[in-house]
Amino acid sequence: MTIRTRLNLWYSAILCAVALVVVAAALYHELVLEHRHHRQIVKEESERSQTGEPEINSGDLVDILTWTVTPAVVLGLAGGWWLTRRALTPVTKLTNAVEKIHEKNLGEKIPRTGNGDELDRLTEVFNDMTARLNDSFNRIREFTLHASHELKTPLTILCGETETELRDESLTSDERERLVSHLDEVRRLSKIVDGLTLLAKADAGQIALQFETVRFDELVRDNFADSQILAEPQGVQVELAACAEISVRGDRHRLRQLLLNLADNAVKYNQPNGRVTMNLRRAEGFAEFKISNSGPGIPPEILPRVFDRFFRGDPAHSQTLDGCGLGLSIAQWIASAHGGKIQVESAPSKLTTVTVRLPLT
């Protein structure tokens, strides 16, 4: 129940009560006091003569009350309704403004009325709160960016020195194995740091895309050819069901990265001898790229989280699959940086389909 309705209910209840009291008082006056007075007069008059005098009927009084109190109550109610509306409009406005706040526009302020009333004060408090939140968000972004930068130097050294050691001809094959294994892990770490840096920069709005007109279908065909080769060792069949000629405005490298990330995921999370189907078509003013795979499917409870950074549906998977766990997050960023959308549909033992929609040129 809204405040407005509640206020109106209380208001009308009070109004009715007041009206009732007035009516009751009037009736009491009419029926009891007047009657008593009347009887006295009648007694006195009957003692003198029996001449009639016009007297006010109690029914008339009720009529008068009905015709005066009812409009008053109705008018009062309407006025109350209007008044609460007027009083609460700034609250509705504030609610709408607050509703629009999300992590990306925390820097923006809700406009204040400046009249110093309670709602103006509330707006000010809200603004202070979002400013503080904005600060914390910025600090987290900066921290991630700095952390990934800081990690790069030691990683470079670790990688370089291990490679230098590997050049030593006198190493036994065991020692060599161990060093190569170290090197593999260092490289994995480097990939994670790379992905993290990219996303941290994207969050901070520090990545400028190189926009040009791109034949998206050519990128899809290219990606299809690579995916076939990528899928071969797992016996996964890749097919390109449709590939309409479509141009979009975008960053060629980023779009290729997007396609490769999706194809890589579709192959990696597939089952042996599974299928991957790609499809590019025009749909409602968008270039729509769909890629589905016949993997085990994603349970509904984890479906909303697949774009989260480092999120892996099955913790056991993180041990066996390579990659940095940021592929889909990066894909999502690329799609939205192009003014597009990405979404995933899946259910256990059903096809998993990722759909990317990019605005046409």
Binding site: H149, K152, T153, L155, T156, I157, L158, C159, G160, E161, T162, E163, T164, L166, R167, R176, L179, V180, L183, V186, R187, S190, K191, V193, D194, G195, T197, K201, Q206, I207, A208, Q210, A225, D226, I229, L230, E232, P233, H253, R256, Q257, L260, N261, D264, D322, G323, C324, G327
Partner: protein
Amino acid sequence: MRVLVVEDEKKTASFVRKALQAESFAVDVMANGEDALLAATGTPFDAIVLDIMLPGRDGLSVLRQLRERKNTTPVLLLSARGEVNERVEGLNLGADDYLPKPFELAELVARVRALVRRVGENKSVVLRVADLTLDTLTRKARRAETEIELTSREYRLLEFLMRSAGRICGRMMICEKVWDYNFDPGTNLVDVYIRRLRGKIDADFEPKLLHTVRGAGYILKEQQ
């Protein structure tokens, strides 16, 4: 061949120097931009490995100064920031190559080799390694007397490997030159393609030509 390495991080400078020396380069190391500029203008180097983040004058400024002074020594930029824009900016300023940190040492060495050899690059139409030939006009590959069918990607990969025959090619460099990816694809795409190519040019023939260098990349050469 003499290379100038400009890197303020001591350990990095040290293993880069060692690796390049192992490839019989003479290596000078400088730790800041001013010294590097002085050294580069006074001594003719065959290549310069230049870190962008340096104390005092940064790498991009050193590069700009060098080019303004008509110094055309090939420059390989190193950067921990790894931004596409920075790469474009560097290349526009006249850098010849760009390598983001953390990089692989083999990758760096291969790139420096490519820089100093760029002048004398193998430009012939028919490339040859042992009995493997690749005609870059007709795009036909032959091993001994057998003709080999190649897809266009495989062709580009083989051409790149044959042009760099005898030198280690890092995965990232292959990705860049063959796929034109300026990002780490994060897949084993290169390895899978190499495996296919190997099946075509090496499987039925002796001696094997395409070798894996563990922890570094691939190399096409006659004998291991």
